[in-house]
């Protein structure tokens, strides 16, 4: 697995309210976009990412740890654990908001993935997204929990209208909003060469799917960090209207084992002689 991340304040905002955490030892990658006055968005997104990683870390060492919330049918234990971690994060964001009056009403989106072999659990709340690049084609894996996205799904607005709407920033779901959060959970197949992009809306507002796909396609093996930086730079060049964060994770080809090693062995001896 090759991975990297980058966050930037952008060119307009004064604070960066996005947070991310990469925990490769757990194969876990988390991104959150905070909101709220008095810089509390920064707090909310940080509490969210930290508590998700902490919950998954704890579950790794104690598999009997009970789930927060109800078990979702039709998805694996790992996916249920990820949903549990997000519900736990909702509790933690609300707890933090209660402790400080300036932080009242703060909230955050989240998108998180965890890899187990060829399967990826994906969970999200809000309008932070996950994409998969497979064989050069970019596919959006998540559905935004936003007012305009819902209107598009209902056929009331077109995609074009949604992209121009002044209500793009209105979310229907977020961490911190209510005592119980409804988490979207899904599982995906991840093949060798597949690239996963997690991003905040700052990236997708400034870049088209084609630009994102091109930037990811350009980056080669072992260049996930460079790809994340490139995407954020491009979004900044295109306007940088919001905080911008990208996490790039690529499933690299497995070393082919004994045959490759034997191949290198002989190749090596040829070079020496």
């Amino acid at each position: 697995m090759d991975f990297g991340a980058r966050t930037d304040t952008g060119r307009i905002r004064e604070n960066n309210e996005d947070s991310f955490r990469l925990a490769p030892e757990l194969n876990l990658f988390v991104l959150s976009d905070g909101m709220g006055g008095q810089a509390s968005g920064e707090v909310a997104s940080r509490v969210a990412t930290e508590s998700i990683v902490a919950h998954c870390r704890e579950a790794e060492s104690d598999s009997s740890m009970p789930l927060v919330g109800v078990r979702i049918a039709g998805v694996s234990g790992a996916a249920n654990r990820l949903a549990s971690a997000i519900r736990h994060a909702n509790d933690e964001v609300r707890k933090a908001a209660d402790q400080n009056s300036e932080w009242n009403g703060m909230g955050a989106t989240v998108v998180a993935v965890q890899f187990v072999g060829e399967r990826m659990s994906l969970a999200h709340v809000g309008d932070s997204r996950a994409y998969r690049l497979r064989a050069g084609e970019l596919e959006l894996l998540t559905q935004d929990h936003s007012f305009v996205a819902e209107q598009v799904r209902r056929g009331i607005m077109t995609q074009k209208e949604a992209e121009r709407s002044k209500l793009q920033n209105v979310l229907l779901r977020a961490l911190g909003a209510e005592p119980i959060v409804d988490v979207d959970v899904q599982e995906e197949l991840i093949l060798e060469g597949d690239t996963i992009l997690l991003c905040s809306d700052g990236l997708t507002r400034d870049l088209s799917n084609e630009q994102i796909a091109a930037a990811l396609n350009e980056s080669g093996d072992e260049q996930a960090q460079e790809a994340a930086e490139r995407l954020v730079d491009l979004a900044n060049q295109a306007g940088g209207g919001d905080n911008i964060t990208a996490i790039v994770v690529r499933r690299t080809a497995k070393p082919v084992g004994a045959f490759a090693r034997i191949g290198r062995w002989f190749k090596g001896s040829e070079e020496a002689s």
């Binding site: 991340a5 004064e14 990683v53 998805v75 229907l172 996930a224």
Partner: protein, 244 residues
């Protein structure tokens, strides 16, 4: 304000803005920066502000803390310093609050209008909206009690069953041990294709090691399945139907 950037080899794992509070570093999950590696002590070191200076203290860790290659006990940190703990590095950067770009345009450019900031629809509005959404979609949806079961019926090819009910969100077609639709035969691909159930209970088929065809057409993008669709992949033909 200083920022701590946690790196492993070339990859950035975490960024943390230094506030008033100190940041502890270690293997224990309650640290501000957690490095889950046996070479790192449970409470390894801390970074804190003292009289406007950024300080680093090693808590007598077993494997030590290194700043720019030197093992340290207590040092002042400056931007650009690189703190090595186990195989991880923490780079100290100065996070610039007001960017050069904004400075140039400050006079002419008013502060970003607050109206663009992400907001949540307040609770009452949201409930009303979601109710409207639910009732508006009713005619198109089947009541949950009469929910039809999406089923794959094998028309041709070697599989372990004749029919499959799609109960999981992810259905894999292939030879792999965890595939739902298990293909048999020497040359069957491990994971030929996948079917995902989306939040609105629609089903989408997408390619994996193979490009499937739906009703005789190869699909480029994941495609929504309708009852009666014929899927062909890796020499197997499957009919997608909703059963009562």
């Amino acid at each position: 304000m200083s920022k701590l950037v946690l790196k492993f080899e070339n990859s950035i794992l975490q960024e943390l803005a230094m506030g008033e509070k100190e940041v502890s570093i270690g293997r224990s999950p309650d640290n501000g920066i957690v490095i889950d590696n046996p070479a790192v002590s449970h409470y390894h070191a801390r970074v804190f502000n003292e009289e406007g200076r950024l300080m680093l203290e090693d808590f007598g860790s077993l494997n030590g803390t290194f700043v720019n290659g030197q093992r340290v006990k207590m040092v002042t940190l400056k931007p650009g310093d690189s703190v090595m703990i186990g195989k991880h590095t923490i780079v100290i950067t100065e996070s610039v609050e007001v960017r050069a770009f904004s400075l140039d345009h400050n006079a002419s450019r008013p502060a970003a209008p607050k109206i663009n900031e992400t907001v949540m629809l307040d609770t009452k509005e949201r409930r009303e909206f979601l109710q409207k959404v639910a009732s508006g979609g009713e005619s198109a949806q089947v009541a949950p009690t009469r929910l039809k079961v999406p089923t794959l019926v094998v028309k041709r090819g070697k599989t372990d069953q004749k029919e499959y009910n799609l109960t999981d969100k992810l259905t894999v077609i292939g030879k792999s041990g965890w595939a739902t639709v298990k293909l048999k035969g020497w040359f069957a691909p491990k994971v030929a294709a996948q079917i995902n159930r989306r939040e609105d209970n629609s089903y989408y088929i997408g390619g994996a090691d193979k490009v499937p065809s739906v009703n005789g057409q190869e699909i480029g993008h994941p495609m929504k399945l309708s009852s009666g669709d014929i899927i062909e992949v890796a020499g197997t033909e499957l009919e997608f139907v909703f059963r009562d």
